[in-house]
Symmetry: C2
Subunit: 362 residues, 2 copies
């Protein structure tokens, strides 16, 4: 008796049918209390751990979990507060119905292996911020299970939840030019899956494979050009990742250019924190010598020194919303819908009027 006991073995031991043992676990009203007690007792004695989830799932056609797809390695994702907030919201939705969250690694080996996706024991997928043509997205869609996409990529007929990235980006940029800043610098996370560190020219900006990145750049550009400046003169530094260290490197590069930027706009709070570090180590006061903005408004943004001016976006609600949309589909109610969540410019103390008195329109 090396292997774990099975329902059939318990039935044999007791001399009852397997259906009865199954009922003891699943439908207590279908058998007498006395027999049920005997069944459970025998099971306990035999070390039967209860119905096997795989077998049950096969029969019932449900896995009891939903899969979450990330860009990057799983280990990377946890390092990003924004993603963690999203997961937090998502988990609120799944907890309500007792579903587990299966976090799926996109990169076990060198290249991304769709087998992880096609072999995942799940009832549906949430795709979180992946590249337009990522094969994993294709694999998930190919499973013909309910899918919800958050942030990107947008796909015809697939429910979607996100924000107005262009509008939000434009709002921060307008805030800065409104303060009189004319020498700007941009710090972005990846524009395309192929990771690059360095200044991204107009061409690379145009070719951005991430709609989110593309839209934000567009928003910045719109605000800049509305003041009569040339967007081509604004240096855009692309970081290979979203860690503060990356932002620091980017800022160091931008701040050693001539003319030195008086304001730096980052694509995320994480990157903005790195920019702050760079400023500190270069003895530039924030916001005196340099204004800095982030994006996301993660909790740390309120606690940083100085507190960060940033764009609030409802990460938790985004996750919650994605979860609810998926659950609706699982219940068979779901007709593809899209949801654009509101953002809000959060003014704190990392931005101030430009020192060089640049007359601003009143």
């Amino acid at each position: 008796m090396s292997r774990r006991a099975t329902l059939t073995q318990v039935a044999e031991e007791l001399g009852v049918s397997v259906g009865t043992v199954s009922n003891a676990y699943n439908r207590p009203d279908q058998l007498s209390a006395a027999l049920r007690e005997r069944v459970l007792e025998t099971a306990r004695r035999m070390g039967y751990p209860g119905p096997d989830p795989l077998a049950r799932g096969l029969r019932r056609r449900r896995a009891g979990a939903i899969g979450v797809l990330y860009e990057d390695r799983l280990s990377h994702a946890f390092a990003d507060p924004a993603e963690v907030l999203f997961l937090q919201g998502l988990s609120v939705a799944t907890e309500e119905v007792g579903l587990g969250l299966l976090l799926l690694s996109g990169a076990p080996g060198e290249e991304r292996d769709p087998a992880v996706i096609s072999g995942a024991v799940v009832d549906g997928f949430v795709v979180y911020s992946m590249a337009e043509e990522d094969p994993l997205v294709g694999a998930a869609l190919g499973r013909r299970l309910p899918v919800v996409v958050a942030d990107q990529p947008r796909r015809e007929g697939v429910p979607y939840v996100g924000i107005d990235d262009e509008g939000a980006a434009r709002a921060v940029a307008e805030h800065l030019v409104g303060l009189g800043h004319r020498r700007l610098g941009i710090v972005t996370f990846a524009l395309s899956p192929r990771l690059v560190d360095g200044i991204a020219g107009l061409e690379r900006q145009r070719d951005a494979a991430y709609p989110v990145s593309r839209d934000r750049l567009r928003g910045f550009a719109a605000a800049v050009e509305a003041t009569g400046l040339d967007w081509a003169d604004v240096p855009v530094y692309e970081c290979a990742g979203n860690a503060p260290e990356r932002g620091r490197e980017a800022a160091e590069a931008l701040l050693s250019r001539e003319p030195r930027p008086s304001a730096i706009l980052a694509f995320s709070d994480q990157l903005a924190f790195g920019v702050m570090e760079a400023a500190r180590s270069m003895n530039l006061s924030v916001p005196g010598d340099l204004s800095i903005t982030g994006f996301d408004d993660v909790p740390e943004a309120a606690r940083s020194v100085p507190p960060l001016t940033t764009v609030y976006q409802p990460h938790v609600e985004k996750g919650l919303s994605a979860g609810r949309m998926l659950l609706a589909q699982l219940r068979g109610e779901g007709h593809p819908v899209s949801e654009i969540l509101p953002t809000r410019l959060t003014l704190r103390s990392s931005t101030a009027p430009s020192k060089k008195p640049a007359r601003r329109p009143r």
Copy 2:
């Protein structure tokens, strides 16, 4: 043809045996390249998404995922940087072998429902920091799958990974009394599952259901009593959770007592950040008027203002180690072992000598 196509249907359509279709997916060398191509092509045409993971798992007896058990709601866990770091390490281990991570909610309804555990499609469990007598731990153990416990609870015969909490706590406390501090205050997270906010007397301290909490208090007490002070005089404020806000409330309570503490020791960096906020809002300078220590050394601890003196513990490696131990068991190699990871006192700028000149031994 409303339901998804199955392997059998593909076989029928082609007039080959099901075994052959299965082989086309799993053992390409078992059939001619030409036939394989025909099979795959037909599958594509019929919209067959590939072998069903549940059925495959049942047959192969493996789920392709490992379950992670948390104290608290899943949504809570994500808010704690230390847990996130642990997960990060764990995911590194599982990614290597293409296993998914199934995050299991402990609290779908009011009370904790073991059904989530007994129904989880997993090959093993990692238990992360749970209460001694939590029913979910029992449920996981009852599944008779490989299990690894991180931090708590320790169970005979179950592989374990953790740190020397008592020793580490003693080290921070010794640092502070060494600086001359004699009026201390403690901010702890939960001592027992029943959540309480407020001063915890000696009795409640002794009854702590969390070994981690108990050990840390013991470490603090040892250092305090070694200086001839009475531990009973040191106020211990227990927080119902690990959020910065809680730490802030606790600190406000402690700092309005007489005599006002000159140093506060927190059980986590998160709580310590809250203590810093409280000090700031009460116009106390850190470390001038108040020394503060944390525990964990999360990345933010180095970026806080002032940078936090704390105990480094290797969260990521803890997760990695737990993962590796579990994988070893899955491969059938694992004999129960325990691993105690090293910690290190990280001195930064949130602690300074006590102002009241208390002669310290030289």
